[in-house]
C-alpha cells in the first residue's frame, strides 16, 4: 500500500523502463507541437488555402495534402492537438477535483456522509458517460471549456470510488492510528498522512483517464457536437468519413494521431503503475 522509495528512486525507476520513456517522449512531443501550433502553422487552419483533395506529397507546400474544402491537413492536425490535449487534461482536472473531494469525505468520515455521497456517485455511474456528456453539451454551448467540464462531470465517479477505497483501508493503518492517538486534527490526517499515500494509484488512473477524455472529445466532434470554430481530430475524421474510399488519408491521419496520443498515455500509465505500486515492483 505504501511506496517507500518514491522520493529517491521513483524517477530513476521510471526512466529505466523503455516503454515509459517512449510514452513520455511522445506525449512531450505532442505537447510541444500543440504549444507551438501558431508558430509551426500560422494562420487559421480552417482557411481554404489550396485546391481541394491534394494527396500527401503532391504539393510540398502542403505535405499532408488538403481536404475537400482545400484546407491544409498538416495545419489542422497541429491545431487539433491543442484542443484534444486541452480538453483531455482539463476534463481530468475537473474529475480529479470532484472525485478526490467526494472520495476523501466519504472514505475518511464514513457513516451518513459516506452513504449519501455513495448514492450520488452511484447515480452518476448509472448514466452512460457519453450520453451524459452529449446532454450537457447539447444544453450549453459546445465550447472547449463546456466540453471539458461535461466530460469531467461525467467521469469523476471512478476517481471518487478509488480515493474512497484507499481512504477506507488507510484509515485503519497503524500510522493513522498513531496520528490520531497523538492528537492530530482530521485535516492534518487527511492531507499529511493519508492523501500522500493514496495518490499513487490516483496518478496511475489519471493518465488513462486523460486518454479516454480525449476519445470522448473526438467522438463528440465526430458527431458534429464539438466546437464548430475549432479544428479537432474528431471533426476531421467526421468530415473525411464521406470520402473514405477516395481520400482515405483524411480519416487515417487524424486517426493515427489519436492512436499515438492514447498509446503514449497508456504507456505512461502502465509504467507509473509498475513504479508506484510496490507489489509489482519485484524487489
Amino acid at each position: 500500500m505504501t511506496l517507500e522509495n518514491f522520493g529517491k528512486t521513483g524517477p530513476g525507476l521510471y526512466l529505466r523502463s523503455p516503454s515509459g520513456v517512449i510514452g513520455a517522449g511522445l506525449l512531450v512531443l505532442l505537447i510541444l507541437v500543440a504549444l507551438s501550433a501558431n508558430w509551426l502553422a500560422p494562420g487559421d487552419p480552417l482557411d481554404m488555402v489550396a485546391q481541394p483533395l491534394l494527396w500527401p506529397g503532391q504539393d510540398m507546400q502542403f505535405p499532408l495534402g488538403t481536404d475537400s474544402l482545400g484546407r491544409n491537413v498538416l495545419a489542422q492536425l497541429i491545431h487539433g492537438a491543442r484542443i484534444s490535449l486541452l480538453v483531455g487534461f482539463a476534463a481530468v482536472l475537473v474529475s480529479l477535483g470532484v472525485g478526490i473531494v467526494v472520495g476523501t469525505l466519504g472514505g475518511y468520515f464514513g457513516g451518513w456522509i459516506d452513504r449519501s455521497l455513495l448514492q450520488v456517485t452511484e447515480l452518476f455511474q448509472t448514466i452512460p458517460t457519453f450520453l451524459l456528456v452529449v446532454v450537457v453539451v447539447a444544453i450549453g454551448h459546445p465550447s472547449a471549456s463546456i466540453i471539458a467540464g461535461a466530460i469531467g462531470i461525467a467521469s469523476w465517479p471512478s476517481i471518487a470510488r478509488l480515493v474512497r477505497a484507499e481512504f477506507r483501508s488507510l484509515r485503519e493503518a497503524d500510522f493513522v492510528m498513531a496520528a490520531r492517538s497523538v492528537g492530530h486534527s482530521d485535516a492534518w490526517i487527511i492531507f499529511r498522512e493519508i492523501l500522500p499515500n493514496a495518490l499513487p494509484s490516483v496518478i496511475v488512473t489519471t493518465s488513462v483517464m486523460v486518454a479516454s477524455a480525449i476519445l470522448i472529445e473526438s467522438a463528440l466532434s465526430f458527431l458534429g457536437l464539438g466546437d464548430p470554430n475549432v479544428v479537432s481530430w474528431g471533426s476531421m475524421i467526421g468530415a473525411g468519413r464521406e470520402m473514405l474510399r477516395t481520400a482515405w488519408f483524411l480519416t487515417a491521419l487524424p486517426g493515427a494521431m489519436l492512436v499515438l496520443t492514447v498509446l503514449s498515455l497508456n504507456l505512461i500509465g502502465d509504467t507509473l503503475n509498475q513504479v508506484l505500486n510496490p507489489r509489482l515492483r519485484g524487489l
Binding site: 517507500e4 522520493g7 500510522f175 492517538s181 497523538v182 492528537g183
Partner: protein, 558 residues
C-alpha cells in the same frame, strides 16, 4: 539417524540484489525433525521455497537438492507439480490467508486428494472427514462443510496441516507454523505435528525463529546467519554447548520464561548489531521503582467497570466486559491475553480512539470517559502509545523530523528552533543521533524504527505510555535491546507503562503487576511474584503451562 530423505548439497540462492543463501548443506532423515533457526532475512524461508521450487522467477538457484537421491532442480515443471503435495508438502505461517475464503474446507481438502490420487468424489469426501479427524477437528462430519471464516486461527492451521498430509508426504516443511497463533494453540499444533511425524514417519523441516520451540520439538538444529549455516548439532547438545558465537548470542538474548528474570534485578544481554550506539548511554545505578511516589499519589489511570462494545448490524458484541484496574505512577502493568481477548480494544479505548460503552476512565482523578475530542486533546500529551508494527506505524512518506515535529505542532509548539531542540533531545533519549532527522523510515532497521516509534510517544513527555506488543514483531536480539531501552527510559523520565503482550516471558521480565485477560474479562491480577509463582485462575495456569521449551532450556541457562 536413519537414511537421508532430503539432502541439500552446496545450495546457493541469488536474488537480483542479494546473495540470500550461501553454500548450504543439510540432510533430513526419514522420521526426523530438523529445525532451521535464524532471524528474519537469514535465508531460511528462501531455502524452504527453493526445496519446493516455488521461488520467484528472478531467483537463481545453484547446487543440488536431492530427494531420495534425485535432484529436484533437474525435474520438469510437470514432474515437480507431482512432487509437491505428494512427496513434499508445506505449511505456511498465515492460516488466515492460506485458505481460500470462498470454498468450504471439505472442497479444498477434496481438491488436494483428487489432484494426486484416483478417487471418486464420495471417497474423497470420506477421506477428507478422516483427515479432519486426524488433525483433531471436533465433529468432522459437520465441520467439513464450514468455510474458513467459521474456524478459529488454530483450527485453520489444523486444516492446513490436514491438506499437507493428505497424500502422506515423506517430507513436511513447516515455515513458522505457529508464529501467528496463541501460545495455548501453539503447543497443541506442534504436538499434532510431532505425532503425525511419528505415525507417518515423515521427515519434518521446522523453520522457526523461536528457540523455545526448537528445544522442545527438534531432533537436530541448524542455525543460519546471513545466508550461511553457522552451526548444526543435536538439539540437546546445541543448547548445552553452543559452539558458534552467533548461536551463543542468540541463546543469550532470547528471553525464557523459566529464567525468572526481572528488570529490577538484571539487564538483558544485548547482542544486536547496533548494540554499540546504545552502549554509551547505559545508565549508572540499579533501576529501582520510585516506591515513595507510588505510595503517595492518586492512581495515574483508573478504570471502573468499563465495557466496550462493537456493533455489527443489529447485534452488539462486547469486546471488553466489566474491567477495572488502576495504574499508579512509576508502575508497569503487564496485560496478558490471547488474540481476540480485547487487549488492543482496551488500549484504543483508553486513548479514546473508540468510545467506551459504559463505566468510567479516570486520568489523574479526572473523568475522561465522556470528554469531547477538543477538550481531550491537551490531555493526550499525558497518554501516548507505542505500536506493535514498526513498519506500519510510521508513515513512509515522512522523515523522522516530520513525524516528530508534527506531533509537537499538533500540541501548539509553533517555534521551529524549539521544536528542533526537543526533537534532538528526544532522539537522544532513544539513542538515535541527530543525523537521523532527514531520513525516511525505510532507511532504518526494525529496531531503530521501533525506537523512532518510542520517540514519537515520548516527545510530549507523557506520564503513561501504552505499549501494545512493542517487541513481538522484532527479532529476539532486537527485542532485548528495545526492552532494555524501555526499562531505562522508565527510570530516566519517570514513566508508567501499560505493557500489552501475548508473550509471557516478556511480560514476566518487565512488569511490576500483571493482569490476565480472557474473553474481554479480567480473570486475575496481582504483583509479578505472586502471579507467576502462585497463579490462582485455571486460565492463568494453562497459559503458563503452554509456554514452550520449559524443561530443556533450563539446562542451558544453568
Amino acid at each position: 539417524m536413519t537414511k537421508a530423505l532430503l539432502e541439500l548439497d552446496g545450495l546457493n540462492i541469488h536474488f537480483p540484489t542479494q546473495h540470500a543463501v550461501r553454500d548450504l548443506s543439510l540432510t533430513v532423515g526419514q522420521g526426523e525433525t530438523l529445525a532451521l533457526v535464524g532471524e528474519s532475512g537469514c535465508g531460511k524461508s528462501a531455502t524452504a521455497l527453493a526445496i519446493t521450487r516455488l521461488l520467484a522467477p528472478n531467483a537463481r538457484v545453484g547446487g543440488r537438492i536431492l530427494l531420495d537421491g534425485e535432484n529436484l532442480l533437474d525435474f520438469s515443471p510437470a514432474r515437480m507439480r507431482a512432487v509437491r503435495g505428494r512427496a513434499i508438502s508445506m505449511i505456511f505461517q498465515e492460516p488466515m490467508s492460506s485458505l481460500n475464503p470462498v470454498l468450504s474446507i471439505g472442497t479444498q481438502l477434496g481438491e488436494v486428494l483428487l489432484q494426486h490420487e484416483q478417487l471418486s468424489r464420495q471417497a474423497a469426501r470420506q477421506r477428507a472427514i478422516e483427515l479432519l479427524d486426524t488433525v483433531r477437528i471436533p465433529e468432522p462430519q459437520r465441520r467439513i462443510d464450514d468455510y474458513p471464516h467459521n474456524l478459529s486461527g488454530g483450527q485453520r492451521q489444523r486444516v492446513m496441516i490436514a491438506m499437507a498430509i493428505a497424500c502422506h508426504p515423506r517430507l513436511l516443511i513447516a515455515d513458522e507454523p505457529t508464529t501467528a497463533l496463541d501460545v495455548t494453540v501453539q503447543a497443541s499444533i506442534l504436538e499434532l505435528l510431532d505425532k503425525l511425524r511419528r505415525e507417518l514417519s515423515m521427515g519434518l523441516l521446522l523453520i522457526t525463529h523461536d528457540l523455545g520451540l526448537v528445544s522442545q520439538w527438534a531432533d537436530r538444529v541448524a542455525v543460519m546467519f546471513a545466508g550461511e549455516k553457522v552451526e548444526e548439532a543435536v538439539a540437546a547438545k546445541l543448547f548445552a554447548h553452543p559452539e558458534h558465537a552467533y548461536t551463543r548470542r542468540l541463546l543469550a538474548s532470547s528471553l525464557h520464561f523459566d529464567q525468572e528474570l526481572h528488570y529490577h534485578e538484571a539487564r538483558l544481554p544485548d547482542t544486536s548489531e547496533d548494540a554499540e550506539d546504545l552502549q554509551a548511554h547505559v545508565p549508572t545505578g540499579v533501576p529501582a521503582a520510585n516506591e515513595a511516589v507510588v505510595a503517595s499519589q492518586a492512581p495515574l489511570l483508573k478504570l471502573e467497570d468499563v465495557h466496550v462494545a462493537y456493533r455489527t448490524g443489529e447485534k452488539e458484541f462486547f469486546a471488553v466486559k466489566d474491567l477495572s484496574f488502576e495504574i499508579r505512577r512509576g508502575e508497569t502493568l503487564g496485560l496478558v491475553g490471547e488474540s481476540g481477548c480485547g487487549k488492543s480494544t482496551l488500549s484504543k479505548t483508553i486513548l479514546k480512539l473508540i468510545p467506551a460503552h459504559s463505566g468510567r476512565i479516570l486520568l489523574e482523578g479526572q473523568d475522561i470517559t465522556r470528554l469531547g475530542e477538543s477538550a481531550f486533546r491537551p490531555l493526550r500529551a499525558k497518554i501516548q502509545m507505542v505500536f506493535q508494527d514498526p513498519y506500519g506505524s510510521l508513515n513512509p512518506r515522512h522523515t523522522v523530523e516530520d513525524i516528530l515535529g508534527g506531533v509537537l505542532r499538533a500540541h501548539g509548539v509553533a517555534d521551529k528552533t524549539e521544536r528542533h531542540r526537543r526533537i534532538v533531545e528526544t532522539l537522544g533519549h532513544v539513542r538515535l543521533s541527530a543525523k537521523s532527522l532527514n531520513r525516511y523510515p525505510h532507511e532504518f532497521s526494525g529496531g531503530q524504527r521501533q525506537r523512532i516509534g518510542i520517540a514519537r510517544a515520548l516527545i510530549l513527555r507523557p506520564a503513561l505510555v501504552i505499549c501494545d506488543e512493542p517487541v513481538s514483531a522484532l527479532d529476539v536480539s532486537i527485542q532485548a535491546q528495545v526492552l532494555n531501552l524501555l526499562v531505562d527510559l522508565k527510570q530516566e523520565l519517570g514513566l508508567s507503562y501499560l505493557f500489552i503482550s501475548h508473550d509471557l516471558s516478556v511480560v514476566r521480565y518487565i512488569s511490576d503487576r500483571v493482569l490476565v485477560m480472557q474473553d474481554g474479562r479480567c480473570v486475575e491480577q496481582g504483583d509479578y511474584r505472586s502471579i507467576w509463582n502462585a497463579p490462582q485462575h485455571p486460565y492463568t495456569r494453562s497459559l503458563i503451562e503452554a509456554v514452550p521449551g520449559q524443561s530443556r532450556v533450563q539446562v542451558a541457562a544453568a
